[in-house]
């Protein structure tokens, strides 16, 4: 222990902040290039410096990407696919989160014979690579009559997501004292009442974690989208790929960049809105006190 009050800047601090600043820059430069490029004219892109600010700011890249750009043969922009992604992501996120909450409740508070084994097996779902399930899943969707539909994609994402959401909620609920459940049972509450009236209202932090995690996973998914959806039901990630790969003369980098920004925006918004719960929720389950 030292009593000396340090004044001025220590060299070690400078070094730490220097490294951090550098790391931040490395991460931010691609975003910066995307952003400025999306506001440039094609002329500007061809003649100017990659890092330079646009000489004429224009939103033509954005409007074109949204409503005119060609993805394959269709030239209606990525607008339709953007909504496709929403129609897929919102139900998939909500259903998988609710199922996970329910699973977690049962696996932590109403243990049955073999429930730990069941949970262990469910966890395997977190480690199964996407590619492994492609063929069996395609066959299953075909038999269910859900091939090439948004509903089919929702189903796939729910099944895949439940392993993660169950893990989140189970670990969160394990830390909640059992006495609370006992008290509620003596108060006359049943299985569902305890879940909806006692546990669910306590679950905001872990709900946010599950929401962010699932939203990011499902919105950003490309593989399932490209395999299990076609034409009008494709999600935006697939459309973005098609847009970039469709060449009609000159490559329009401003449109590509704007489309990529549009595709990334919803996840960004979710992080900004719910981000503070994310850290809180992640630590709530693992660290006590």
């Amino acid at each position: 222990m030292t009593d000396v009050v340090r004044t001025g800047i220590r060299p070690s601090r400078v070094a730490i902040y220097g490294v951090l600043l550098l790391a931040a820059l490395v991460y931010l430069i691609p975003l910066f290039i995307m952003l400025v490029t999306s506001f440039k004219t094609p002329m500007d892109i061809r003649t100017g410096n990659l890092m330079a600010l646009p000489t004429d700011w224009t939103i033509i890249g954005w409007t074109k990407a949204w409503s005119e750009a060609c993805t394959g043969v269709d030239c209606g922009g990525i607008r339709g696919y953007f909504w496709n992604s929403f129609k897929m992501t919102v139900p998939a996120v909500l259903i998988s989160t609710l199922l996970g909450a329910f699973n977690g409740y049962v696996l932590s508070k109403w243990k049955f014979k073999g429930s730990n084994l069941f949970f262990g097996m469910l966890l395997f779902g977190c480690f199964v690579p996407f590619q492994v399930v492609l063929l069996p899943m395609a066959a299953t969707l075909g038999q269910l009559g859900l091939a090439n539909t948004t509903t089919g994609l929702v189903l796939v994402h729910v099944i895949y997501g439940v392993a993660f959401t169950t893990l989140f909620f189970r670990n969160y609920y394990v830390a909640i004292p059992d006495a609370l459940i006992k008290a509620a049972r003596l108060d006359g509450a049943g299985f569902f009442t305890i879940f909806f009236r006692i546990l669910l209202p306590m679950s905001t932090p872990i709900f946010m974690v599950s929401l962010i995690w699932q939203f990011t996973q499902i919105w950003n998914d490309f593989l399932f989208g490209v395999v299990f959806a076609s034409g009008d039901s494709q999600p935006i990630t697939v459309a973005l790929n098609n847009l970039v790969n469709t060449s009609t003369g000159v490559k329009e980098y401003n449109v590509d960049m704007a489309a990529a920004m549009i595709a990334a925006l919803p996840t960004l918004v979710v992080y900004i809105v719910a981000g503070k719960y994310f850290i809180r929720g992640l630590t709530a389950g693992s660290v006590k006190g």
């Binding site: 004292p177 006495a179 006992k182 003596l186 006359g188």
Partner: protein, 371 residues
Amino acid sequence: MSQLELRSIRKTYSGVAEETLKGIDIDIASGEFIILVGPSGCGKSTLMNTIAGLETITDGSIVLDGKDISTMEPKDRDIAMVFQSYALYPTMSVRENIAFGLKIRGKPKEEIAQEVARVADLLQISHLLDKKPSRLSGGQQQRVAMGRALARRPRIYLFDEPLSNLDAKLRVEMRTEIKKLHQRLKTTIVYVTHDQIEAMTLADRIAVLKDGELQQLGTPKEVYNTPANLFVAGFMGSPAMSFVPVTVEQGEHGLQAEVRGNDGGTIKLPVPDYLADRVGREVILGIRPEHITQPQDQKDDQDLVTKGQFTIEVTEPTGPDVIALIQLNDTNVHCRIDPEHPVTWGETAELMFDMKKVVFFDPETEKRIAA
């Protein structure tokens, strides 16, 4: 106001070889305050959970007001419980916490409001009704937990170590509070604690448990003065009863037993006549601190009283008296001495032994030898 009978309750957890409860029989009268006491792992909490219906029993039956409730769901038993951790619903206000059980049971709104007001008034928590539990102090949370139990007017109240999370001062206050409440409401209460002072002060009757077996069931006075065996004798009372191995002899003025101090000097303690058939055999003398005091003139010529010189090894002033440690037959023995009567550690002092209330145990069976 309900009467509860526990009939040879047995409980074995799956995968555990030993029984947790080995046939417990307790009859609890209406309005009685029963305390289950024992060291941790003795099965007292398990027994309470089986009464509540939170755990099933392997054998036996639980009868409430003449009706077997052994297999009923907790919610159908009409029993309320106060938990050690309080277990208040964190997202609800105090009012909602108290009203929850009534709401679930579909009571009309006005009735719930009335009941909450009555309970809040009774426990003096009216000013806290709109707060969340996390905003309350430990003592206030404790009151709310009791309020939640009281609001339903159940037939039996179960208290599971309700005071052990409170600090020492608050614990004594709440203890008095609970006792007052019981005297006013005359409810049937089953209360679990590992604190023998809590048991002595609160209970109408105490059930002492050890290793899943009932050791003794009796009033605090009975359990304290005539403990059934060595375990009960050692568990109840603070400082604990001291156990000295002695041999019963026939003396000139009746039966006696010789004890040796740590300086080698011996005195003969008079022992009661009921030990006559044990002359020449070893018994265990159970002697409480208050049985060994400074000399008291008014007791001088009473029967079964004697005096002797002993070296004081340690003194512990507690305020109202000084606990002094001496050795009898190589065993540590506590004495309770008036603080006005000076004793110094390392020096000898004259002590008076009042053998009228001491107890004796059989060294083989560890049971008390009946008077």
